[in-house]
Amino acid sequence: MIRVGYIALNTYRETVRDKVLYNLVLFALLMIASSYILGKISVYQEVKIIKDLGLAAISIFGMAIAIFVGIGLVSKEIDKRTLYSLLPKPITRVQFLLGKYFGLCLTVLVNVLVMTAGLYFLLFLMSEPFEPALLKAIFLIYVKLTVLVGVALLFSTFTSSTLAGVFAGFVYVVGYFSTDLKNFDSVVDTGALPQITKALYYLLPNFKNFDIKAPIVAGDIVPMTQIVWATAYGLVYVSLLLVASAWVFQRRNLK
């Protein structure tokens, strides 16, 4: 298992040496900072705007990293033929996949932590008391991002980067509006469409489960059980995605 760790660390190193990542993080921090200015303009609710935008930035930029880096995790190694020298080493294909997965999750974690620090720093500047509830929302954002990394990884095992990106984006959007999909038959009730949307509802991850930004910012109490359930849901989903990725990748001929 230590080999999975080495592969993960190398994957982490790959992403932190990529300039794209710095641009994204810089952009995200700028966005959090600009919420400060926005907050100043509006007369009150300054703090609420900062929290809203800050959490949104953590989520959106985390997603950008999860998808844009995630879709290249395997396909880039195949296209560039770096796998040719790696896979004959004493590792299994599954170890390779797990290493890639955890490596990117680590990158995403570091980014989320950096942005979280930025957000709290801003709140501190405004002499706000430390508010641990935000961490609940951020934690679930991170759980969501690990699911998204899994989705990107799965697509990356059988298709090229661009296509995988489109697929992963599609899964996110559809998965987010999953609940609406379920009720789609009340809108259209003819043909196969309701069946398809229903199938998608059960198949795709329901990303709304991880979204507790609004109640947290509004100061509502989000029960711990809800967070535990959402986390368990995420873990199960990630496991399924990893099993599916392994199933695909173990059969793949590397041409």
Binding site: L87, P88, K89, P90
Partner: protein, 310 residues
């Protein structure tokens, strides 16, 4: 136990939109003994790289099986005892040469002290010590090839697979590569390599297999498959009068006039002895005598040509 063994190894690639199968390797049976230098040769597209990819578990066989050191190709303990240089290798370009070797050393389970000393040693051996801390994106093709050789030897493998090891190297590099393979053989390592550069193969290999369009057309010791009986002796002479030429003709396989000289070739030692005697008597002057061995290239052209005709 043989170092490498393939039994009826076959690979079909699916090509095009219709996934039409294309046979890249057709029932290959090979056995490579431990300690041998074995060359797999053949024209472009013969299936050499495909054979190595099958052995490395990068692609899966359509039929047949392969074993390395008596183990199936996905055996992890066996994989710790082999090294592989891919064709036109490419490595993580965000790493430096030293970092790459360290990473692969980790995967081989080497201790950190071992990784450090092994990396230094190998970087020096392949002559890229000065570029050890340069990112691989700045490496030239030849430097990448050298690093590829270094990573293939990192774990002191018992069997090394090299796909076109000479490609991308300058003449000096080729010479070094040849010496390196000899050195490996000296320490008991089995070397299995593919090449289409025949003179290199000829100087290096104990045995060769010739592959063409996925099929094995010849395999054996160099001395066996290069038929010694058809060696020829080439002679250049001058002062050959027309009368003398008539006497020489029946003794030669070919005879041609080049300016005021005559170039002739004899198929047998006895013919040459007679021809030399005639030359002396008839006032001709012997300028040079060269025994010409059949080269691997001749054989290669003949074998591959034969098949093309049938």
């Amino acid at each position: 136990m043989s170092a490498v063994e393939t039994i009826g190894l076959t690979k079909d690639y699916e090509v095009g939109f219709l996934k039409k199968p294309h046979r890249a390797l057709d029932h290959l049976d090979l056995e490579v003994e431990q300690g041998e230098i074995f060359g797999l040769i053949g024209p472009n597209g013969a299936g050499k790289t495909t054979t190595l990819k099958l052995l490395m578990g990068l692609v899966f066989p359509t039929e047949g099986e392969a074993r390395i050191l008596g183990k199936p190709v996905d055996d992890r303990r066996m994989k710790a005892e082999i090294g592989y240089l891919p064709e036109q290798p490419y490595f993580y370009d965000y790493l430096t040469g030293r970092e790459l070797l360290n990473y692969f050393g980790q995967l081989f389970g080497l201790s950190s002290a071992e990784r450090r000393s092994r990396a230094d040693e190998l970087l020096a051996k392949v002559g890229i010590t000065s570029a050890a801390d340069v990112q691989l994106r700045k490496y030239s093709k030849g430097m990448t090839q050298r690093l590829g050789v270094a990573q293939a030897l990192l774990n002191r493998p018992r069997v090394v697979f090299l796909d076109e090891p000479m490609s991308g190297l300058d003449p000096v590099g080729r010479r070094e590569m040849t010496l390196l393979v000899r050195e490996l053989q000296g320490s008991g390592v089995t070397v299995f390599f593919c090449s289409h550069i025949l003179p290199d193969v000829e100087q290096l290999c104990d045995r060769v297999a010739i592959l063409d369009k996925g099929k094995l057309v010849a395999v054996g010791r160099m001395s066996e498959i290069l038929d010694v009986s058809i060696d020829t002796i080439e002679v250049v002479a001058d002062n050959v009068e027309a009368e003398l030429e008539v006497k020489l003709r029946p003794l030669c396989r070919s005879l041609e006039r080049v300016g005021d000289r005559v170039r002739l070739s004899c198929a047998e030692q006895a013919d040459f002895d007679d021809a030399a005697a005639e030359l002396m008597q008839g006032g001709g002057r012997l300028l040079s005598v060269t025994p010409v061995k059949q080269t691997l290239e001749d054989l290669f052209v003949r074998k591959v040509g034969e098949k093309a005709q049938t």
